[in-house]
């Protein structure tokens, strides 16, 4: 991360999911928006998001899932981060997270309870992510500076 960067992000598609196109577009757009992006690509196990975040001292992990198995793949993700010493890292998740026609509110709540700070529905535009992300990172840094 250079001083000019708005923060270092880890992006990737979790689990046995090969849908990479949307994730590439998102990663590229966030880079253009001034973030440092470490893009892990498709088929990424949860542990590799965490390993990458440790080495790069990342501010946030952005998990994509587009094949309906996201709930299984993301279970225990926050705990994995806590075990690795990343207690206060920002976690975002987005995509087609569950199978079937479930109300978005219940999906969002379920992933928030799993420890994700923000949950994004299908059809999210990159600009919908970069704004909140910059604010959240700035807030975390301010908190850390106080302690």
């Amino acid at each position: 991360m250079t001083d000019a960067s708005k923060g270092t992000l880890i992006t990737g598609v979790i689990g046995s999911d090969t849908h990479i196109v949307g994730n590439r577009i998102l990663s590229r757009a966030l880079e253009d928006a001034g973030f440092t992006v470490v893009a892990l690509g498709a088929l990424t196990p949860a542990s590799e998001f965490v390993d990458a975040a440790i080495e790069t001292d990342a501010d946030a992990i952005l998990v994509s899932s587009l094949y309906g198995q996201g709930e299984l793949d993301c279970r225990g993700f926050r705990e994995l981060c806590i075990e690795a010493g990343l207690e206060d890292i920002l976690l975002y998740v987005g995509g087609y997270l569950v199978v079937g026609d479930q109300p978005w509110d219940s999906v969002e709540e379920r992933f928030q309870q799993m420890g994700f700070d923000r949950v994004f529905p299908p059809g999210t535009r990159p600009a919908d992510v970069s704004g909140p992300l910059a604010e959240d990172i700035a807030a975390r840094r301010a908190e850390r500076a106080e302690t």
Binding site: S16, L43, T56
Partner: protein, 476 residues
Amino acid sequence: MALALLIDFGSTYTKLRAVDLADGRVVASAQGPSTVTTDVNEGLDAALANLEGAMGGAGEFAHRLATSSAAGGLKMVTVGLVPDLTAKAARMAALGAGAKLAGTYAFELTDADVAAIVAETPDMILLSGGTDGGNRKVIEHNATMLAASALACPVVVAGNRSSAETVSAGLEAAGKTVIATENVMPRHLELNIGPAREAIRQLFISHIVHAKGIDKARERLDAVLMPTPAAVLKGARLLADGHAGAGGIGPLLVIDIGGATTDVHSICDGEPSQSGVVYHGLPEPYAKRTVEGDLGMRHTARHVVEAAGDAAFTAEAGLSIDEVATLLQRTEDDVEWLVENAHEIAFDRALAATATRLSVTRHAGTLETVYAATGPVTMQRGKDLSEIGCVIGTGGVLVHADDPAAVLTGALAGADAPLSLRPRQPKLMVDADYGLFAAGLLADAAPEAALALARRSLRQLANEEGEISHGATAAH
């Protein structure tokens, strides 16, 4: 006739080769005892007297170069952050520089870790951690711990560049010798071990050669350039790639079985050979060396049998379990033991083939099929060695084996590990005149002669079907 004198100060012998610089021919070979513990010159004198005898007079040498594996070799400890990332990159850098690893550490060092490192009395530490601009906390913590320790050896710093100055200053203030160089993993999954390897080599020349007492012979040498395993790796690379784009034999694998350890070197890009396979994880070096500290012919023979399993080993050797037990005891009672009768020869061959199979399996990459929603996807971790053209045995165990082809066959792809990317149909060869070490040593001073030397040393072996090839595949 312009000659080069190439010397290996080994742990048992001082080995010499006189090489004709015009055509890479070994004019004479000789050896003397290893006398590093007293005065390195004594063994060198004895070896030189033997060489003069073989040459029929004293030679005039245009180059006098040496490697060293004496006095424990180059013993290193590596420290990184995440085990599969910078800690692994640091390990690969040290092994590529010819080191013997006395410990590899990840995450924050504890007091107990530092005590264990000090107790190992390493010759050098390689300290890494964090991508450039990434984690600083852990490498800075580890530097502070090492600075406060009783450790006297030099430290190569090759981590997060944002921390390099802080880390170096802290270690220097505590009186340590430090070389700071580029990060072994500057960006996530970007391997950059060349600069660290070069820093290790510089420190080896400037500090370790003196610390080991080898510099007592300095007036009789141009330089002690590198640890012996680094010369083998360099020689292997020259043999594969050729010089100035010509004369190489292409991707290859080198196996060197010793009494305690087995070294494997691969020279190839290792990228997937089948279409549709996705590479996963930290890339591995083009010239990659691994050392298996638990696989050798004598000191660690019991581990070889244990790792293979009694049933597999007895089947491989054609011996009963009791016979194997008796012979294993012998390897421990007398590490210098040389086999004589047919049973003993079969035992040694099985040990060597098993050490080869296990060490190449650990060196090679693997495939894994993941069932994605869109269908199966094949992922590769590590290097794909399946298309490698030559598997070469070097070192005494393989060169003097009664049936080296049977031993080297252990390196090939097989049903024991179907997802292991070991070589499929390589030529099997031995480095009959110990030419790889010599070629690596001579590679910078006289690359063409060095390449010819390596090629002349190769002998192709009959392959599995029993097709015998000509004796030497030799020179141009």
